[in-house]
């Protein structure tokens, strides 16, 4: 579980009184300050210009005013807090609309208590929140452009994998790990963790395959010069590249490509190697 960096001012918006109570108790116990609202109009009145709160935990299925409409109104405030959408509605249309309206994270109900605590504690501050540019928000073709930060990698992974939540667990885990590796590679090596640089991500789904394409703003790399990566190790020495990384002053790691190749069916780079496509073939019914 993540450490609490500081207490957040949180508004829980849900028409389920029991859930409001449970979330309040849970998050207050973790050092946060809580307020609750049972519907959209009450929440908007409490929020005012948004400056009094850091985070809103927002249900989508609210009476009288949809949570997605509340989200849109919050995003137009002078000092919008971050919004974590929580819903039992698992349709891709709802998720994609939440992405388009700049939800910070998306959590599917029901969720274990530890999940909400982790998501709240890992959230950045409203002032540091960066936007995801949505190019296409169709279930079969999601395309976004996002700043190169590690926090953004968590957000993107959360959204993208919720779209595939119906997949068998083993397939989803493999895709999640591979996608995460390639995305963090793009953000770290291509984008240098620079929020002014952007990574472009396309997720295409057909009945028989999942395809993720990630383009980073870097110059690419020469695979023959990747002595700091595990893929160049001889079979009998799976740690040789670590010595190279130590000599080059790189952090421990270098297993990403080796892992990714084993987790998906195809991994295709463009000539410069600053764009990559990850493909997972699906059995019928997956």
């Amino acid at each position: 579980m993540a450490q609490t960096p500081f207490g957040r001012r949180i508004l829980v918006v849900d028409d389920d009184r029991g859930l409001r109570h449970v979330l309040s108790e849970l998050l207050q116990g973790d050092g946060h300050t809580l307020a609750t609202a049972g519907d959209g109009p009450e929440a908007l009145e409490m929020l005012g210009d948004g400056s009094g709160f850091d985070l809103v935990l927002l249900d989508i299925g609210l009476p009288s005013m949809s949570g997605l409409d509340v989200l849109a109104r919050i995003r137009n405030m002078d000092s919008p807090p971050l919004v974590i959408v929580m819903t039992a509605d698992d349709t891709s249309a709802t998720l994609l609309e939440a992405v388009r309206r700049q939800a910070y994270r998306y959590i599917r109900k029901p969720f274990p208590p530890g999940t909400i605590i982790d998501v709240v504690n890992e959230a950045g501050t409203p002032a540091s929140a960066l936007s995801i540019e949505v190019i296409s928000a169709k279930p079969e073709w999601l395309e976004i452009v996002a700043p190169c930060t590690l926090e953004m990698a968590d957000r993107i992974q959360s959204f993208v994998l919720h779209l595939e939540a119906h997949l068998p667990e083993a397939v989803l885990e493999a895709v999640a790990s591979a996608f995460r590796e390639l995305l963090t590679n793009a953000i770290e090596w291509g984008g240098k963790f620079d929020p002014n640089r952007k990574v472009r991500i396309s997720c295409v789904r057909t009945k028989r395959l999942l395809l993720y394409r990630i383009s980073d703003p870097g110059e690419g790399f020469d695979i023959d010069k990747l002595r700091h990566a595990a893929i160049t190790n001889p079979d009998d020495d799976p740690m040789r590249h670590l010595q190279v990384r130590e000599e080059q002053g790189l952090r421990p790691g270098g297993f990403g490509l080796a892992m990714t190749r084993s987790l998906v069916d195809d991994l295709i780079y463009n000539e410069a190697r600053n764009e990559v496509m990850l493909i997972k073939y699906l059995d019928e019914g997956e």
């Binding site: 579980m1 993540a2 740690m239 421990p252």
Partner: protein, 118 residues
């Protein structure tokens, strides 16, 4: 990630809880093991049962700290790898590096003999 630390004899058991990933748990693990090595505690068990996510940076830190402890004359052993951890260790060929156990008594007993540095 957080780490719960306890000792059985001269064996230190670190229970890892949460995400062992880039800039998340990897740095906590690094600092904890560096401190143990500084204190001369070089018989280390990593209980991985409650690791919820593991990426290549986390695996890289596991291996890096394995080398640190080996150079200090000790070793790190893995306890309770979940299915995912086990799979990733297999992919990265780290089963040939780490000794892996599924019960605590066995891993503690396995430290009975002398350990030599590399």
């Amino acid at each position: 990630m957080r780490i719960v630390e306890r000792r059985i004899g001269d064996v230190t058991i670190l229970q890892l809880i949460g995400r062992l990933e880039l800039e998340t748990g990897d740095l906590i693990l690094r600092d904890t093991i560096n401190r143990l090595v500084d204190d001369g505690q070089v018989k280390v068990v990593l209980d991985m049962k409650e690791v919820t996510r593991l990426d290549s940076a986390g695996i890289g830190m596991l291996v890096s700290k394995y080398l640190t402890v080996r150079r200090a004359g000790g070793t790190i052993k893995i306890l309770h790898p979940n299915e995912r951890t086990d799979h990733l260790m297999d992919i990265t060929k780290l089963h040939t590096v780490f000794e892996v156990f599924n019960d605590e008594e066995s891993v503690v007993k396995s430290f009975g003999g002398a350990i030599h540095g590399v």
